[in-house]
């Protein structure tokens, strides 16, 4: 035992002595595919619903560069950023890779190639660039748009004797409508899932434009966030109030947003849900359980006078090019093929996404999509996407504490302000 302890001590001492001799990874390593081959990482290309999209993008690219082979490597989404981070760190990353807009791509911007000079011609046709931009440089081209419309169940409105085509426009009316619906049908106001700490992100972005003044909203997105503003505090107070007053389904902290909260909405147990525009938890999913014509989309109810409700959305997913790729121009052309009008049309139709391309025809997808698309031009970036992933993570935990009452609104906002300042 004594000898073993001694050996362990020597081992530890040796490791500490070695410490700090340099980085385990070489920041300037140059991996990726060989010349004539591009490696693409994503979590979409393995889905059956994305196969025609990938096929069309590949065909488009092959026309321009017949000699270059493209290899798609589909990774599981839960592991995606872990694997990508490890690959980049080890210097073995792909040439082209899929990113979610917002914090994830900004955290990795130093490994990516600015695409501005290559995608200039696409800037008008595609929407959602801001989510892939850092310090005025664009790092990915958007494939889909992701946002947080407030969906509501028109049949519950009808059952409660409310006009389903005239949802409330102010918070007080909204709460009154909810009470009426709950009384008549037993359904709660919001389907809320905050087990992963995601509920607050949807709440902040879905309702934020009804609380912050337009100037405060723009400042927030531009990085000038005033956490001491009463309106910001109001959002977090509202989050707590909504739960305290029984607007949410029971046990929000142990209900997973994906997909238990959406299931609550789909099964007529809640009248509203702040959902997504693309991928999951959206019009296409809901229409499978509710009648597509019964899925409505409403603007955020106005909480503070002077606020202008807008659809919060950003670039959802987009393809980026690694800094170390052998031939940046070819890789950028692949990104352009992956966002070509034909490919995006397939993506919208098969995968149920709001494509970043404004020219894609969506008329056959139901009234909810029509409402969403009509709001895109006046829409604004979502509030939570502007925050760093560290702050978003902290916000998730604080939001759970707010619901359980173990932190006050003041203290939560203070902690968030500190985390936001630290960057």
């Amino acid at each position: 035992m004594k000898q073993r302890t001694l050996w362990s001590a020597i081992l530890v001492a040796g490791l500490v002595a070695l410490a700090g001799c340099g980085s385990a990874s070489d920041p300037d390593s140059a991996p990726g595919g060989s010349k004539g081959k591009l490696v693409v990482w994503d979590w979409k290309s393995g889905d059956a619903t994305a196969s025609s999209y990938v096929k069309k993008a590949k065909a488009d690219f092959a026309q321009q560069h017949p000699g270059v082979t493209v290899e798609f490597v589909a990774q599981p989404f839960e592991q995606y950023y872990t694997l990508l981070g490890a690959a980049i760190q080890a210097g073995k990353g792909p040439d082209v890779m899929l990113f979610n807009g917002g914090g994830q791509i900004r955290d990795r911007a130093d490994s990516l190639l600015p695409l501005d000079e290559y995608v200039r011609d696409d800037k008008k046709r595609l929407a959602g660039w801001e989510a892939f931009t850092k310090d005025n440089k664009t790092y990915a081209a958007p494939v889909t748009l992701q946002g947080h419309p407030i969906y509501y169940n028109k049949s519950l409105y009808r059952k409660a004797g409310l006009d389903p085509e005239q949802p409330a426009t102010s918070w007080d009316e909204f709460v009154a409508d909810c009470r009426t619906i709950t009384k008549a049908t037993g359904a709660r106001c919001f389907a809320q899932g905050n087990k992963e700490g995601i509920g607050i992100q949807f709440f902040l972005s879905g309702l934020g434009s009804g609380v912050l003044s337009p100037k405060e909203y723009d400042d927030w997105i531009a990085g000038r966030r005033d956490w001491s503003s009463p309106a910001v505090e109001r959002i977090f107070a509202l989050w707590k109030e909504a739960d305290d007053e029984g607007l949410n389904n029971d046990g929000a902290n142990s209900t997973a947003m994906f997909n238990d909260a959406f299931a609550v909405f789909q099964s007529n147990k809640a009248a509203h849900v702040i959902g997504l525009m693309s991928d999951v938890g959206h019009w296409k999913d809901f229409a499978e359980f509710l009648d597509a014509d019964d899925v409505g989309v409403m603007k955020a109810p106005v909480v503070t006078a002077g606020a202008t409700p807008r659809l919060p959305y950003d670039g959802g997913i987009g393809y980026a090019v690694a800094k170390w790729t052998k031939d940046p121009e070819v890789a950028a052309d692949l990104v352009r093929s992956l966002t070509s009008p034909d490919a995006l049309k397939s993506f919208h139709a098969d995968a149920g996404a709001i494509a970043a391309d404004r020219t894609v025809d969506v008329s056959s997808a139901g009234p909810a999509v029509a409402t969403i698309v009509s709001e895109i031009d006046r829409g604004k970036p979502a509030l939570h996407v502007a925050l760093s992933s560290k702050t978003v993570d902290l916000m998730g935990r604080l939001s759970q504490q707010l619901l359980s009452g173990s932190v006050t609104v003041d203290s939560a906002v203070e902690q968030l302000a500190a985390s936001d300042r630290a960057g």
Binding site: M1, R4, T5, S8, L11, V12, G14, L15, V16, L18, A19, G20, C21, G22, S23, A24, S25, D26, P27, Q79, Y81, T82, L83, G85, A86, Q89, D107, R108, D110, K195, E196, G197, N249, D250, G251, A252, N253, S254, T255, A256, D260, S389, K390, D393, G396, R397, Q400, Q401, S404, S406
Partner: protein
């Protein structure tokens, strides 16, 4: 000089007569015995142990110690903009400041405290099976069954059972007790997950206990029964002393299991929440590395976890060794 070489010499010195006799015999066979072949043979004999040990040592050094060294080294470098720069103990300072990491370490403490429960449950169940309660044969397979399920499946099953509007709360509500937010209450969630982990893994410990029981002398139990001992006294005075080695083995394996294989359950059941109350160091490492893009900070956390495991491991080795000596 190697320890093997010197111990060989010690052995020779210990038996001077034998050594002399050997030399005399060599002399007797004449000068031909000093040929290069014999010398080569001796050298081969001297090298043989090293050659035989080399693969194992190489595997440990190349695949364990070297990466470990790289990891520790990496933990003293920075993340993001400071990638590659030496930052001293900054990452460790950040860890100590991070309430989430402190929670993770505190939860490791909870696991150690809950260890007796995790050992006692399969121990008691095995005792009942050994004492042939009615239906013991069915129970034996029923208790073992969860051991063949993957943590992900177990987590998914219990997610459904323990949901706020799930069946368990429906039963509690029906019997007049209020619902409990098993996975949403920060004071309860960690115990819920540990409970599920015990449920899932106690089958294996139960089998080990049953194997231990087969070495127990039934005459002792019969004697106790004849003397009119109660069940509690039988367990305390006959079964526990008789099974001390088995119990120690189960303690060690259960501890290792709790510290190293809770990740799957945590990932599926709570994702570290609510309020970060179910974080364990491995989950923290995973989040920092993957979600927060802070691999160096994750390395620092790994190093701390390694040190914790080293201490726990050494204590356990000491425990096992003492148990062996008692025998």
């Amino acid at each position: 000089m190697s320890p093997i070489g010197s111990s060989g010499r010690v052995a020779q010195a210990g038996r001077p007569d034998g050594a002399l006799a050997g030399e005399a015999a060599v002399d007797g066979r004449g000068p031909a015995s000093k040929s290069p072949r014999v010398r080569n043979g001796r050298r081969a004999e001297r090298l043989a142990p090293y050659v035989l040990v080399a693969p194992a040592v190489l595997i440990i050094v190349v695949l364990r110690l070297w990466p470990l060294g790289l990891g520790v080294n990496f933990s003293f470098t920075g993340d993001g903009e400071r990638n590659g720069a030496t930052v001293g103990f900054d990452n460790y300072a950040e860890l100590i400041d991070d309430p989430l990491f402190r929670t993770a370490l505190r939860n490791v403490g909870w696991l150690v405290l809950l260890l007796p429960v995790a050992v006692a449950i399969p121990g008691l169940l095995a005792t009942f099976i050994y004492l042939r309660v009615p239906g013991h044969q069915i129970f034996r397979s029923v208790y073992f069954f969860p051991a063949v399920l993957s943590p992900v499946i177990i987590g998914a099953i219990f997610n459904l059972l323990l949901a706020f509007d799930g069946p368990l709360n429906a039963v509690l509500g029906g019997s007049g007790l209020g619902p409990v937010d098993w996975l949403g209450d920060p004071d309860v969630a960690m115990f819920t997950v540990v409970g599920v982990h015990i449920w899932a893994t106690s089958g294996m410990a139960l089998v080990v206990f049953l194997a231990g029981f087969s070495t127990l002398d039934p005459a002792l139990l019969d004697a106790a029964r004849v003397d009119g001992a109660s069940l509690a006294r039988m367990i305390w005075h006959v079964i526990i002393p008789g099974l001390s080695r088995t119990i120690q083995f189960v303690v060690v394996t259960t501890m290792i299991g709790m510290l190293t294989s809770m990740f799957g359950l945590l990932y599926v059941m709570t994702s570290g929440g609510p309020e970060g109350s179910t974080y364990l160091p491995e989950y923290y490492i995973w989040v920092q590395q993957g979600q927060m893009s802070s691999p160096a900070l994750a390395s620092a956390a790994s190093t701390v976890l390694f040190l914790v495991m080293l201490v726990v491991g050494l204590l356990q080795v000491g425990l096992l060794r003492r148990a062996g000596r008692e025998d």
